[in-house]
Amino acid sequence: MTISGRVWKYGDNVDTDVIIPARYLNLSDPQELARHCLEDLDAGFAGAVRPGDIIVAGANFGCGSSREHAPLAIKAAGVSCVVAESFARIFFRNAINIGLPILECPAAARATAAGQHLDIDLAAGIIRNVETGETFHANPYPPFMLDLIAAGGLIEYTRRRLAAGRTGSGAACCE
């Protein structure tokens, strides 16, 4: 799967309260959430983001609450991928579970500026900066998580396993 998009660049510790403020947590419709995405960090984002755009950020992206509203809002805003130096644990799980592509790649995150364009080969974890021509390799996913991503997220993955009469999550114990 290849992704191409324009970059929105943010710093370290972008927390779930600025990704989707709690005053909107009485909503759960992704499109409504998208209208307030990143509102308290960058009030111009929701109005100007275009389908396919990419968010690039520093360390600990998505720290704070477990609200799945955060990756849902980002995905519904049309963002095709989030590249960060690192992700907070719960945000990482949530993004994979709902099928929002994310890549951990400190070098790419540091070397990319707002407004530049990235070409991303998701399966191979290769990120190319269109303007500078630099290429980066993201940390690879374990096979179990690639299966989750290939199935389109945790629900579809689990639905298929349950329909096939299998119990358990299918996580291998020897990664």
Binding site: N13, D15, D17, V18, P21, A22, R23, L25, N26, L27, S28, D40, L41, A59, N60, C63, G64, S65, S66, R67, E68, H69, P71, L72, S86, A88, R89, I90, R93, N94, N97, I98, P142, F144, G153, L154, I155, T158, R159, L162, A163, T167, G168, S169, G170, A171, A172, C173, C174, E175
Partner: protein, 422 residues
């Protein structure tokens, strides 16, 4: 078999494996699954896509309407209704209605739903609170919780464990909140990212259960997956009258491997205050510089327990909240609320000029009951002070322990109980 940390032992037991090591992906059985009025509606929507009709066990799911309940508006009412209907259809045993409920992480241990050695997952990041009982408890999103409600199982990566040893004994007005704020100040908001933290040492042995809940609660503010305490006599005395089902408490093995060990002598530690806008932005209260405040909030899953409110009452008894300050006090559960009434603390608070509410998360997440305007400052016993956490993005939140919050409410600026001659 190699010796294991507390987190590793609990995870191995729930994965049915003789041993586990950091980095392994496991499939584990869970003892309890939690969701609230914000996260349950999405979890229920995803559950319905799974093609199963019943939850794995209606006695092992807890649903708590606490964030925007009593309903703050029509949309919140609809979210609570979605959860209530699901609870009735599925025969969920542990559903708590307004008037009997509490803030989930205060309520569940109090009601005996969590035991030492348990594996608990919740659609709320502060699920890690139950680590105080020696359980491995961690927060997840709604989709993970939907699958856990259907199957009773989750996938997990076994985390590395960090060990933090606290030596010495604590000064008056210094407690669990100060230890955890100090810790986050030292290691940073991602200092334990993806890791489990084991808290131990003489200062921890001496700490009350309520103080331990406060510390485990904020492990997530250092990025941790779980914050755990080895269950001792105090923990066992806490669960004995509450938990009626069988459980298997465990303790870390001698010689277990920790990714790092930190040791701090906390004998001289002052009450700590986290300045905006990160919980790691910590200073001693004497260096807080007398920041003027508009509001003080005492409550939440961090500091809404009996001991917290008792400390606040000791400071507020016979004093008045400063004329420029709104002081909002929220007991963590209905049980604590009853005890406040029974033991006269409710009167102390009301006479001091504080507003006292039925249990709710309310102001902690800028929901309702104490939302801040632009430029306003609040001292709060909650756990997060991110931009916009309690209201307008230009408002400010300062995190502190309940005694400091109460003293500040009286002073009209951030200050310590010592400044009131206490």
């Amino acid at each position: 078999m190699s010796p294991m940390t507390l987190a590793e032992k609990i995870l191995a037991a729930h994965a049915g494996l003789p041993e586990v090591a950091p980095g392994m992906l496991i499939d584990a059985r869970v003892d309890l699954v939690l969701a609230n009025d914000i996260t349950a509606p999405i979890a229920i929507r995803e559950f319905e896509k799974l093609g199963v009709s019943r939850v794995f066990d209606p006695a092992r799911i807890a649903l708590v309407p606490d964030h925007f309940a009593p309903n703050k508006d029509i949309k919140s009412a609809e979210q609570c209704l979605t959860m209530r209907r699901f609870a009735r259809e599925q025969g969920i045993v542990h559903y708590y209605e307004v008037g009997r409920m509490g803030i989930e992480h205060v309520l569940l241990p109090e009601q005996g739903l969590v035991a030492p050695g348990d594996l608990v997952v919740g659609a709320d990041s502060h699920t890690c609170t139950y680590g105080a009982l020696g359980a491995f408890a961690t927060g997840m999103g709604s989709t993970d919780i939907a699958v856990a409600m259907a199957t009773g199982r989750v996938w997990l990566k076994v985390p590395e464990t960090v060990r933090i040893v606290f030596t010495g004994s604590l000064q008056p007005w210094v407690g669990g909140k100060d230890l955890i704020l100090y810790t986050i100040g030292q290691i940073g908001v991602d200092g334990a990212r993806y890791q489990a933290v084991e808290f131990c040492g003489p200062a921890i042995d001496a700490l009350s259960m309520d103080g331990r809940f406060t510390m485990a609660n904020m492990a997530i503010e250092a990025g941790a997956k779980a914050g755990l305490f080895s269950p001792d006599d105090k923990a066992m005395a806490y669960v004995a009258p509450r938990v009626s089902r069988p459980y298997a408490a465990c303790t870390p093995d001698p010689g277990a491997r920790y990714v790092r060990t930190l040791e701090w002598d906390v004998s001289a530690l002052e009450p700590q205050v986290a300045f905006p806008h990160l919980p790691s932005n910590v200073r001693a209260v004497s260096e807080a510089g007398g920041v003027r405040i508009d509001q003080a909030v005492i409550g939440s899953c961090t500091n809404g327990r009996w001991e917290d409110l008792e400390l606040a009452a000791r400071v507020l008894r016979g004093r008045r909240v400063h004329s420029d300050v709104r002081c909002i006090i929220i007991p963590g559960t209905q049980e604590i609320y009853r005890r406040l009434a029974r033991e006269g603390l409710l009167e102390t608070f009301v006479e001091a000029g504080a507003a006292v509410s039925t249990p709710t998360c309310g102001p902690c997440l800028g929901g309702y009951m104490g939302v801040l305007a632009a430029g306003e400052r609040c001292i709060s016993t909650t756990n997060r002070n991110f931009v916009g956490r309690m209201g307008h993005p230009q408002s400010e939140v300062y995190l502190a322990n309940p005694a400091v919050a109460a003293a500040s409410a009286v002073l009209g600026r951030i200050g310590s109980p010592a400044e009131l001659g206490l």
